[in-house]
Symmetry: C2
Subunit: 304 residues, 2 copies
C-alpha cells in the first residue's frame, strides 16, 4: 500500500474517480472523505464513495498519510488553513487543481514543518461534475503532472508519482510557471473560447435558441460539451491563472484578426495554408496516443 490512509477533500469528478481507481489498483487501504455540502456527503455515503465520509475536515484528515485537496482552486487556501493543525507529521498534502503557481502560494504557507506539499495536476476530466460522475478508468494513460515547489522532499515526490501511476496515469514533473502557461494553451483558453462562442449563439435573437440547438451538428456541439463544465471550477481557474490566460488570449485575438482579414479580402491561399498546418497538429495528437482516430462529431464509424 503506497499510502495506507488517504483523505479526499472535495468529492467531485476527480476525487470520486481517484477512489474507484484506488479500489481497482488495490491501493484503497482506508479512505476518508469530506465535502462541504451535506447533499454531496449524503450522496457519497449512499453510493459507497470512501470507507468513511465525515462531516468535519478535522476528522477526515486525522491520521491520513496522503491528503488530497480536490476542491476548486479558489478554495484551496482556506481548506489548507483549516486542516493544517490536524495533519499527521510526515504526511503528504497534494492537490489536483488546474493552476499551480497560485495554489502553491495559497496552500504552502499554511502547512506545518514536516508535512510534505506536492502539488499535482491529473490531465483528465469530463464535462460532468459531482460525486456520481467518477469512474475508475478516468486517469488511464493520461498524464499527471507533479509540480513540486523548490526544495521538496524527493522521496515524497517519488511516492506520489508511484501512487498516480497505480491509478493509471503517466507521470511528468514540471515547473509551476511553465505548467500554468502550457495549460493556458491546451485547456484554459480553449475553455474560455468555447464558453464565449456558446454565449454568442445564445445571445443572437435572429437565430433562435431552438435552431441553434436543433442544428448543432459538428463544431458547435463540441463547444457546448466543453462549455458545460463546472462553472465554479472554471471561474477559479481563470482568476488564478490570469497572466498566462490573458497572454494567450492576446495571441489568439491577434491570429483571429489575421484570419478575419483574410476572409474579408478573399485571401484563399492564406486560409488554405493555415488550415493545412493545423491538420498536422491533430496527427501529432493521434500519434501521441492522446485520442483515437475514430471520427467523432457525434457519430461512431461502423462497417459499411
Amino acid at each position: 500500500m503506497i499510502y495506507p490512509r488517504v483523505a479526499l477533500i472535495g468529492l467531485g469528478l476527480i476525487a470520486s474517480s481517484m477512489y474507484w481507481a484506488m479500489k481497482r489498483a488495490g491501493e484503497a487501504g482506508h479512505v476518508t472523505g469530506y465535502a462541504r455540502s451535506q447533499e454531496t456527503r449524503d450522496t457519497a455515503r449512499r453510493i459507497g464513495l470512501c470507507d468513511q465520509v465525515f462531516d468535519s475536515l478535522q476528522e477526515t484528515v486525522r491520521d491520513a498519510d496522503l491528503v488530497v485537496l480536490a476542491v476548486p482552486v479558489g478554495a484551496m487556501g482556506a481548506v489548507a488553513r483549516d486542516i493544517a493543525p490536524h495533519l499527521k507529521p510526515g504526511c503528504t498534502v497534494t492537490d489536483v487543481g488546474s493552476v499551480k503557481r497560485q495554489v502553491i502560494e495559497d496552500v504552502g504557507p499554511h502547512l506545518p514543518e514536516g508535512v510534505h506539499f506536492v502539488p499535482a495536476h491529473p490531465l483528465a476530466g469530463t464535462e460532468h461534475s459531482g460525486p456520481e460522475s467518477g469512474f475508475a478508468t478516468l486517469f488511464d494513460n493520461r498524464w499527471c503532472l507533479l509540480v513540486p515547489p523548490e526544495g521538496s522532499d524527493a522521496d515524497a515526490v517519488e511516492r506520489l508519482g508511484r501512487f498516480w501511476r497505480a491509478l493509471g496515469s503517466n507521470i511528468d514533473v514540471m515547473d509551476p510557471d511553465h505548467h500554468d502557461l502550457v495549460l493556458a494553451v491546451t485547456s484554459h483558453c480553449p475553455h474560455l473560447i468555447a464558453y464565449t462562442m456558446v454565449g454568442v449563439a445564445d445571445d443572437l435573437r435572429r437565430v433562435t435558441d431552438s435552431e441553434v440547438i436543433k442544428y448543432s451538428a459538428a463544431g458547435f456541439r463540441d463547444f457546448t460539451r466543453i462549455a458545460a463544465s463546472d462553472p465554479t471550477m472554471w471561474r477559479d481557474v481563470f482568476l488564478s491563472n490570469k497572466d498566462a490566460t490573458l497572454e494567450i488570449l492576446g495571441r489568439f485575438t491577434e491570429e483571429l484578426f489575421a484570419l478575419q482579414r483574410a476572409i474579408r479580402t478573399g485571401d484563399g491561399e492564406q486560409l488554405h495554408a493555415y488550415f493545412t498546418r493545423t491538420r498536422a497538429i491533430r496527427r501529432g495528437i493521434l500519434e501521441a496516443g492522446q485520442d483515437t482516430s475514430a471520427p467523432d462529431f457525434g457519430r461512431v464509424k461502423v462497417e459499411r
Copy 2:
C-alpha cells in the same frame, strides 16, 4: 426507387456516405460517380463505391434522375457549367454544400430550363475526408436542410426530401440567407475559432509542439479534432459565407473582450454567471437528441 439513376459528383465523405446509405435503404438503383483526381477514382473503383465510376463528367450525369454536387463550395459553379449540356430534361440537380446563397448564385444560372435545382445541406460529417471515410449511418437522425430558391418545383422538393429521409435524415426547409446565418453560428465560426486556437498553440515557441500534443487532454483536443477537417472545403466555406461569418466573428470578439476584462479585473461573479448560462444550452442539445450525455473528453464512462 425514388431516383432510379443517381450521379455523384465528387467522391468524398458525404458522397461516399450517401452511396452506402442508399445501398442500405434499397435506393441505389444505378449510381454513377465522378471525382476530379485519378487517385480518388481508382480508390472508389477498388472499394466498390458506385456502380460505375467514370473519367468524365459528361458520362457520369447522362440519364441521371438526380445529380448530386458534392464538391467544395467554390467548385460548384464550374461543375454546373460543365454538366449543364448533358443533363437529362426533368432531372433534379442538388448539392451538399455548407453555404447556400453563393451556391445558388453560382449554380442556378448554368442549369437549363426544365432541370430542377434543389440545394440541400446535410448537417453531418466527421473530421475525415476522402472516398474511404464514408459510412452508411452518417446521416441517421441528423438534419438535412432543403434550401429551394424561390419558384422551385414543389414536387421536386418533396421528392428530394423523401430521398434524404430514406438515407436516415430529418428534413427541414429553410431560406438561403437564414441558412447561412444559422450555419455561421453553429458551424462556420466554431471551425474558424478552433483553427485559430490550434494555430496559436503551434506558434508558441515557449510551449513546444511536443508539450502541446502530449498534454492535450480536454479542451484543446476537441479543437484539434475540429481543426483537422478538410482545408479546401473550409477555405471555400469562409470565402463564400463571408458576410455572416464576419458578423458573427464580430459578436464573438466583443463577447470575448468582455470576459477577458472580467478576468483582468477579477470579476468572478460575471464569469460564474456566464459559465452557468452556457451550461443550459448543452442541456438543450441533449434534450434535442443531437448528442449523448456520455462524458467524452476522450473517455467513455464505464461501470465502477
